[in-house]
Symmetry: C2
Subunit: 329 residues, 2 copies
């Protein structure tokens, strides 16, 4: 590859002048500018961004961490981020932590080492106290994660409102015995969701029984298991807010093959509005989360702060969710 020196030599100018042309600085005579541009084009020269980054300590790259790309939610989140970043001519480096704390810290090193200009955390593996010191090396923000005190932007959606909206809808439909599925992460998100569920029940003075709470609800298999648990209950819920499309799909599949009629015998609401909602028979009522927008907002805020060299402050953005009504309720 040609370097800036070669271009300079060929044009009989100093590399400073070439650099000026490259960066659209004023004070370069028309003739030289044109000649230099011509030679650049002829040699198909492109400046080394490695050298540039080293000198300017700007990389035009943001890093995004997710547990694993292999999950439709995160895949879409990344799509939103990358797409938005691209419109600002920023590259995005995708980092899968595979739920590994050490990998997340490696990512932080990239920031310290100026290999990326900023970081979007799509998940938080380590304690915030371990992440926080890296803030002095560049902007970090949380997307789809929450922390009660971290002094950075937090882009998410209103889990509380989403959950209470879903449960209220079930109540409107006449249900009085409503169950709830949750995973076992002690995340703020889970707490909010549960609080929303509670609030809706309380508002209508409905009971919430311990037996109607189902833990470890992640995937389809969990759905199978949970249906079996329900099946054995003496007093069964007539409706379920599952907090996951996959769990909902599993429950429905098993219920149907056990002779249940959905939604007559059991109404089920998912979460995320993933593809499988449409495939499931009956199709699943769910909460639609504006995932792409989530990613786009996060990317936009981060990149803007990078460009303006403005420090990021705490700022909690909550995008609106939507209840998508289908056949399972």
């Amino acid at each position: 590859m040609a370097s800036i020196d070669e271009i300079a030599k060929l044009c009989n100018v100093s590399k400073t002048t070439v650099s000026r042309v490259l960066n659209n600085h004023p004070y370069v005579s028309k003739e030289k500018r044109e000649q230099i541009l011509k030679v650049i084009k002829e040699l198909d020269y492109t400046p080394s961004s490695l050298a540039r980054s080293l000198r300017t300590s700007k990389t035009h790259t943001i890093a995004v961490s997710v547990p694993s790309i292999d999950h439709p939610f995160f895949a879409q989140l990344i799509k939103g981020i990358s797409h938005e970043a691209l419109t600002y001519s920023y590259k995005s480096l995708i980092f899968q932590t595979f739920y590994n704390q050490a990998v997340e810290l490696e990512l932080m090193e990239l920031l310290r080492n100026k290999e990326v200009d900023g970081i979007i955390l799509g998940a938080l593996e380590n304690e915030w106290e371990l992440i926080e010191p890296f803030l002095k090396y560049g902007p970090i923000l949380l997307c789809n994660e929450y922390h009660p005190s971290a002094d950075i932007p937090i882009i998410g959606y209103d889990e509380f409102e989403a959950a209470s909206k879903a449960v209220s809808y079930l109540i409107e439909k006449g249900h009085q015995k409503i169950g709830f599925c949750y995973d076992h992460s002690y995340s703020e998100a889970q707490r909010q969701r549960k609080a929303g569920y509670r609030k809706a029940l309380l508002a209508h003075k409905l009971p919430h029984k311990k037996e109607w709470l189902f833990g470890k609800a992640f995937d389809i298999e969990d759905g199978f298991r949970i249906f079996n648990e329900i099946y054995k209950l003496k007093e069964k819920p007539t409706a379920l807010f599952t907090g996951s499309d996959q769990v909902a799909a599993g429950i429905i599949k098993k219920a149907v093959s056990s002779g249940y009629k959905i939604p007559e015998d059991l109404a089920v609401i998912g979460y995320d509005n993933q593809l499988i909602c449409q495939v499931s028979a009956p199709a699943i009522t769910t909460i639609d989360i504006p995932i792409m927008e989530l990613g786009q907002q996060a990317a936009r805020i981060l990149i803007q702060s990078i460009k303006q060299q403005a420090e990021l402050k705490r700022e909690v953005v909550r995008l609106a969710t939507k209840l998508i009504i289908r056949e399972s309720t």
Copy 2:
């Protein structure tokens, strides 16, 4: 961030010596080595990989291009690649082309500019002739794509065998009227698949009718449409090889709600063994593709060639697929 000079100064040695320690060179006295290591640890110093890359023109990064991450197949492929790369301490830069040729060429520029050490193309947007010139800047390989003459490794699976296996199974089950769905890309993959379908039919002297070929088969909606087309046919196929789980799911969904019994009235085989096969009711018989292995092999071959600075030669790897039998056949 501390730099190598600071470490050198603190230890009263030249940075050359520090560099030697960093790179495990011999000929550094025990005392100095230990002292330097101690100071490095105290300052929590890590060398700038930007500077390193600039000097050595090695980045320890491979780039992966896919059309969009937002597709379970590619998401898994990337997972396989990234995971394998990680075991070699290589980073992977994921590049979504969004089906855009220019973006793919930008990726090639990264190789020319020595921002990455090699490239895995998970899709091919441009003509090979446009890509080929970049081979002189570093190794490139094709994964899940095929080109009849490109002189690089091609990691894929045997589409021909997979298709003929699927169709043969339908024949074994007694079907004589078997349809086929395809998308409209004129890719080698599609050709192979169709050829496999044909071969199985011919081997059993079964007819293949034009009316049983259904084009533009990508997603669930296409499945809906295709079922409608089938429904209108005078002579209907009794089985379908769809070439896509999503299409299969769409067809099944529509068929069931139209009163069809699956597989009695219509047997359906998907392709990819995605999650939705299990959610669909009935669950979908499909072809399982070792996606993770595909990615792992690709990463391994690429990284090894980078490490050994060996040029890559044409080499067509075809991993085995598996027929997963479920309820839809």
